[in-house]
């Protein structure tokens, strides 16, 4: 086990542990803090996958903007810890939820590891990545840690999705403003 494996284990534990602690946190503020821990762990895993640009983006966008927005809303609404009394009517759906998610993970892991040998024979009819790449109009985008490759890909092959996502951000912004103003306009109409 070399250094990189230890790093992977550490950051994977950080990501999963932060997410678990978030799910079971009492106070929303501590939940958001655990979520930041999880997001930073995932960003470090992106670094291990040599996607440095996405790691920076993960920290800036998620841990920076999104979680600040979460904390802002939590403090704006002034929600305290849930008064989660442990009675049966609340425990039963919670138990079923835990069971279902554990079942999902178990099925996925079984498909990945447990039965790994058999599906490989069935994949002969699947298009291989090289086939799929040849059909496109654009040359293959090789994986690269450099940002310029991202920019090239975004400006050539993914031009339309980029513009659509920009328009979607605008639509989200306008939508948020309209939702925030809704009660006043309703009063004025009626």
């Amino acid at each position: 086990m070399n250094f990189v494996d230890l790093l992977f284990l550490f950051f994977a534990t950080l990501a999963c542990g932060g997410a678990l602690a978030m799910v079971f946190a009492r106070h929303p503020v501590s939940g958001a803090m655990f979520m930041i821990v999880s997001l930073v762990g995932v960003a470090a895993l992106f670094v291990l996958l040599e996607a440095f640009f996405l790691a920076i983006l993960q920290v800036l966008v998620y841990a920076g903007a999104v979680m600040v927005l979460f904390l802002f809303i939590i403090m704006l609404l002034d929600v305290g810890p849930d008064g989660s009394k442990v009675d049966l009517s609340k425990w039963k759906p919670g138990f079923i939820g835990v069971l279902l998610s554990v079942l999902l993970v178990a099925v996925l892991l079984f498909l990945l590891i447990g039965d790994g040998g058999t599906p490989a024979s069935n994949t002969a009819s699947w298009p291989t990545p090289s086939d799929a790449r040849e059909t496109g109009d654009f040359p293959t985008l090789e994986f690269s840690p450099e940002v310029s490759f991202f920019g090239y890909g975004l400006m050539t092959k993914y031009m339309l999705p980029l513009q659509v996502s920009g328009f979607m951000l605008l639509a989200a912004m306008v939508g948020v403003i309209i939702i925030s103003k809704a009660p006043k306009t309703n009063k004025g109409d009626s």
Partner: protein
Amino acid sequence: MNAITPTHFLILSFLLVGIGLMGLLVRRNLLYTLMSLEIMLNGINVALLAFSRVGNSLDGGILVFFIMTVAASEVAVGLALLVALYKGRKSVMSDDACLLRN
């Protein structure tokens, strides 16, 4: 355990998606619901990036970029809806949002 393989990243991605689903199903607080959705999207991002790295293609990485964009706007709209809900009902629990009218 020897070197890190894509399988390890996939296992981590499954775990993150499972934890996110658990938070989605267990918690009644809508703030936690939104945060669990973010955890699930993060797990999917890890899987996409691992596949992108294995296939030596940048497409997965760019898809991660777009998923981040969608997640950010989804959080913005979701939190605005949450604030609008809180104005009417003084509560962020999903149990209290069971009526379609005010």
